[in-house]
């Protein structure tokens, strides 16, 4: 029944730009490593401008403009040589001036697109616009009062608005991961979702499959992890389908996500419709870019994830899946690059594949279990390169390799000493393995006969038995050679 519906999703992403100072004043926009401006003493990080003292005026941070342009260039947006800051008027205690300085009808970046990994081929998602604005402060709600902290007020944001061109929670998730990796690669956003560096609002609607008009949308606000956003969208899609199926109508509203219960909840609709009364901010004149400036910024773009993905496929013959996973994560691709660089030039497709397998498998698991960033762990590219080398040359088995990796993760000890200490070297000595294999053949005569008769599948049975008998140290490739030889 549900398959007669399709979901349509558009995303609005707010990225805090990692400039030194705020967008319109010289107050710091970020603290030292690992500290958010929101964490320090409330209102320590404020001045007349960002507290909206009477008479204070905004002056635009040049770096903020450059970061927005970089984001636009990386998403193939039309860069607007003339853009305008407008005031969005509304009252809220965390909004010091009673208006937010934002961009309205003339944003700094117009239409563009972002390619996300898809099932068989990458999919292009349209970007409507990217505009600059200032962040608000933070209200902390207590019993009987609220406390307003303006440390974050005036931190620069870009809002990246997508077209409603995603049709599932997974696509939305892929878009967000791709965008996240992009802004982090560009070095314009720290990307820490817990701290709100990268925030997302999702507009979700459903419609009968084949319909062209959009259904009424609900907006899911402020979800702070990829996984939760996907779950929230998935929940919301199902909820809306239920509403429609049971004869109801979806209400246009803002909904919050409760991650404990995995539900979206209507946030009490505002008692009045918003009327933001946008008009050009007379304290700021239009922002003018020059083609020279934009070209200079284009020249400064780092290699972008989609370029990286293409290069990985070309240079290392990685599958599009592997190349996509790597290029979408700055930490994985950085680690990959540093590891593969340790191999001598030549055909690197085998070590590349092996590196990717370790990175996306065991290392990702270890890193997420321990909540330690790969770059901060004890495992170095040198470790990984050594491990790949001994694995490919058959010195250790694949299960042995896993064991080594866990050991290195915990201790940081060199790979060869771990192999030595834990006795993980494979037995690759024909003389030592032959009697073991012979014994297995002797005790399993019928299987031996069937294998000999051509039932190749049974080879794994003999290899498995040999591994067991050798305590996991037998080199499986050698074992199968010996079985063939003895049955010949």
């Amino acid at each position: 029944m549900q398959s007669e519906f399709e979901a349509v999703i558009g995303l609005e992403v707010h990225c805090q730009l990692s400039t030194r100072s705020k967008i319109f004043c010289a107050c710091p926009a970020r603290m030292t490593e690992g500290q958010s401006v929101a964490d320090i003493t409330p209102n320590l990080n404020t001045c007349p401008v960002c507290t909206g003292q009477p008479g204070a005026l905004p002056v635009l941070n040049k770096k903020v403009v450059e970061y927005a342009v970089l984001a636009g260039l990386a998403t193939h947006c039309e860069i607007q040589m003339h853009s305008v800051f407008s005031r969005k008027n509304y009252f809220y205690p965390d909004l010091p001036k009673g208006y937010q300085i934002s961009q309205y009808d003339l944003p700094v970046c117009g239409k563009g697109w972002l390619e996300i990994p898809g099932g068989s081929a990458p999919k292009r998602i349209g970007i409507t616009r990217i505009h600059l604005e200032e962040d608000a402060g933070k209200n902390v709600h207590e019993v009987g009062y609220s406390a307003v902290n303006l440390n974050r007020a005036g931190v620069p944001l870009i809002e990246i608005v997508s077209e409603p061109e995603m049709f599932s929670a997974e696509e939305a998730g892929a878009y967000l991961r791709t965008l996240h990796s992009l802004v982090v690669t560009l070095g314009i956003c720290d990307g820490n979702m817990q701290e709100g560096n990268f925030r997302c609002d999702a507009n979700v609607s459903v419609r009968k499959r084949g319909a062209t008009a959009l259904g009424t949308r609900a907006e899911i606000k402020n979800v702070n992890s990829f996984r939760f956003i996907e779950k929230a969208i998935e929940y919301e899609i199902q909820r809306q389908i239920q509403v429609v199926v049971s004869g109801g109508q979806v209400v246009q509203e803002t909904r919050g996500y409760d991650s404990d219960k995995n539900v979206t909840l209507s946030q009490r609709s505002k008692e009045e419709a918003h009327d933001y009364r946008y008009f050009p901010d007379p304290d700021l004149l239009p922002l003018r870019l020059t083609p020279e400036w934009v070209e200079k910024l284009r020249g400064a773009l780092p290699e972008l994830p989609d370029q990286k993905r293409a290069r990985y496929s070309e240079q290392y013959k990685l599958s599009s899946q592997d190349a996509g996973t790597l290029s979408n994560s700055k930490s994985l691709s950085d680690f990959f690059e540093r590891t593969i660089a340790l191999f001598p030039a030549g055909d690197l497709s085998a070590p590349a594949k092996a590196i990717v397998n370790f990175l996306t498998g065991e290392l990702t698991r270890l890193s997420s279990e321990a909540s330690v960033e790969l770059a901060q762990s004890k495992v170095t590219p040198r470790h990984l390169a050594d491990l790949v080398q001994v694995s490919l040359s058959g010195v250790i088995s694949s299960s042995g390799a896993k064991q080594v990796l866990i050991s290195v993760w915990n201790s940081g000890a060199p790979v060869d000493s771990v192999i030595e200490k834990e006795g993980l070297k494979q037995v690759s000595d024909v003389g030592a393995l032959e009697p073991i294999v012979q014994k297995i053949i002797d005790s399993n005569p019928s299987q031996a006969a069937e294998l000999k008769a051509g039932k190749e599948k049974l080879m794994s049975f003999f290899v498995g038995q040999a591994m067991k008998a050798s305590g996991g140290k037998a080199n499986p490739a050698l074992v199968s050679q010996i079985v063939k030889k003895l049955l010949a």
């Binding site: 001045c47 007349p48 507290t51 909206g52 003292q53 009477p54 008479g55 204070a56 005026l57 905004p58 002056v59 635009l60 005031r87 008027n89 009252f91 205690p93 010091p96 001036k97 009673g98 208006y99 009987g144 009062y145 307003v148 303006l150 009327d275 009364r277 946008y278 008009f279 007379p282 304290d283 700021l284 004149l285």
Partner: protein, 483 residues
């Protein structure tokens, strides 16, 4: 001690040891305390005495006024109360800021202090600079300096009245639609609204940001030039301040005038019925004088003048409705006591705070909110900005033929307190001749040019091209010295 002194007279007095900066400051503070004009809202006696003592000690050391480094050395100075002063109460003539002690100072305040001015205090004004008569101050109207019962003009009425009455030698005001020039005209002093962007607005509590400009009110054009030399010039804190080298106004005064090159435009739209006969006659005298010097006076047309008041009111109140949103009682200003026991309703908190705005301010916030609101903004705000372009183009066309535009500052001389306060529209129409310069950003000034039969001063209004402040001041100075 002479009641009205120019900056040069004060400096000569210091050099000749006729009085010290401290003695002078004490004299002026004494006058302020004795005055009934209600021109000062806050007297910064301690600060003034401190600055004056310092100046006195410096004078002793140097033996002469350091005119180059400190053009306002020891000058008793007043500031309109919408210029923020760190540590010194700044009310904007409003109950909502009755207790506001700013944590920073306006750029112009820092500049006049650095130039040696002795700050006597903060001058009364229409609340948030919204008014033409000074009757909208929450702290009572300012009296006319020579004619009790008459208004001094607004909104910089405190500044004009104080300068005219010798309560300070020079003052700063702000001009959004005529708020420097109108009171200067009514009180018989000089008032200059520089080209928009010549003077930093950082620390000027905004009324309408695209129109507001700070300028001097003084007893002579030369004194205004001295003050302008100090306060004008690029400010990295104001995006709308003009970057680059600023002009030298006083230096420009010493060059001789070449009148044959001066062309003055007389807009026919400014000489219509409704202008008081004595005012019109005074304009004719001024025109004759300029012609006698050899200037060409020609008729010009500014065809969209009749729309100026409408455009102005829509633009000014729209911007004001947004500029005044920050007065919410959260971070500064007066707020209802006993917040946590006030049954915690944010909406009623806002309303209780903002009810302290006066009626004229509320009226303008309402009108501005309406003019920007969805469904009406095309008809009002956007349309007004389109017509604003036509008014600007009127001037562009006129300035192809002439260098200056001459007219009265206001249709009438000062009127009586209470005469127009019940009729907002009549009050708005006072500003008909001053508003266009704000809409187009042009430099304009008021210089005394006579008196009516009641002895009330008449002001001559001169406006110039964008950035022609220096030339404008030169001809005004020549006119002022005509006698």
């Amino acid at each position: 001690m002479k009641k009205i002194q120019s900056i040069a007279e004060v400096h000569d007095g210091f050099d000749n040891k006729a009085f010290t900066p401290l003695e002078l400051a004490q004299e002026y503070l004494g006058r302020i305390h004795a005055s009934q004009l209600n021109a000062f809202l806050t007297v910064s006696e301690e600060k003034a005495i401190f600055q004056a003592k310092k100046a006195t000690a410096e004078l002793m050391k140097w033996g002469r006024v350091p005119r180059e480094a400190q053009p306002l050395f020891g000058i008793p100075f007043g500031l309109k109360d919408n210029l923020v002063t760190q540590g010194l109460r700044t009310t904007c003539g409003s109950r909502i800021l009755e207790n506001y002690v700013p944590p920073y100072s306006a750029t112009v305040v820092e500049r006049v202090e650095k130039a040696g001015a002795v700050i006597l205090g903060k001058l009364n004004m229409d609340e948030f600079a919204m008014g033409s008569s000074n009757e909208n101050s929450a702290f009572g109207p300012v009296q006319h300096p020579t004619h009790p019962g008459y208004v001094p003009g607004g909104s910089s009425g405190g500044s004009a009245s104080a300068v005219a009455a010798g309560l300070c030698v020079a003052a700063l005001g702000s001009d959004t639609g005529g708020s420097i020039r109108l009171p200067a005209s009514f009180c018989g002093v000089t008032g200059v609204k520089p080209t928009y962007g010549r003077v930093s607005r950082y620390g000027l509590v905004a009324f309408a940001s695209s129109l507001d400009q700070i300028g001097p009110l003084t007893n002579s054009v030369r004194d205004s030039a001295t003050v302008l030399d100090v306060i004008s010039g690029a400010d990295p804190m104001d995006s709308t301040s003009i970057q680059g080298v600023s002009e030298k106004y006083v230096a420009g005064l010493s060059a001789p005038m070449d009148w044959s090159k001066v062309r003055i435009g007389i807009p026919k739209e400014y000489f219509v019925s409704g202008v008081q006969a004595e005012v019109a006659a005074s304009m004719q005298d001024a025109i004759k004088w300029f012609e006698k010097q050899g200037a060409q006076c020609v008729s010009v047309t500014l065809p969209h003048t009749s729309y100026a008041v409408s455009v102005y009111y829509v633009v000014a109140v729209s911007e004001a409705s947004s500029n005044l949103a920050r007065f919410d009682g959260v971070r500064f200003g007066v707020r209802p006591e006993g917040l946590s026991s006030s049954q915690g309703d944010l909406l009623s908190f806002y309303k209780q705070v903002r009810t302290r705005f006066g009626d004229e301010v509320k009226r303008r916030i309402l009108l501005g909110t309406f003019a920007l609101s969805s469904g009406y903004s095309d008809q009002y705000y956007q349309k007004a900005c389109q017509v604003r372009r036509l008014i600007q183009q009127d001037f562009t066309a006129a300035f192809e033929k002439v260098d200056f535009i001459l007219g009265p500052v206001a249709p009438t001389t000062a009127f009586k307190l209470g005469e127009k306060s019940q009729d907002p529209l009549q009050m708005y129409l006072n500003d008909i001749f001053t508003i266009p310069a704000n809409l187009a950003g042009l430099p304009a000034l008021s210089v005394p040019c006579g008196k009516d039969s009641a002895g009330l001063p008449i002001g001559l209004h001169l406006a110039g091209r964008l950035y022609s402040d220096s030339e404008l001041i030169r001809i005004a100075d020549a006119f002022e010295r005509r006698a």
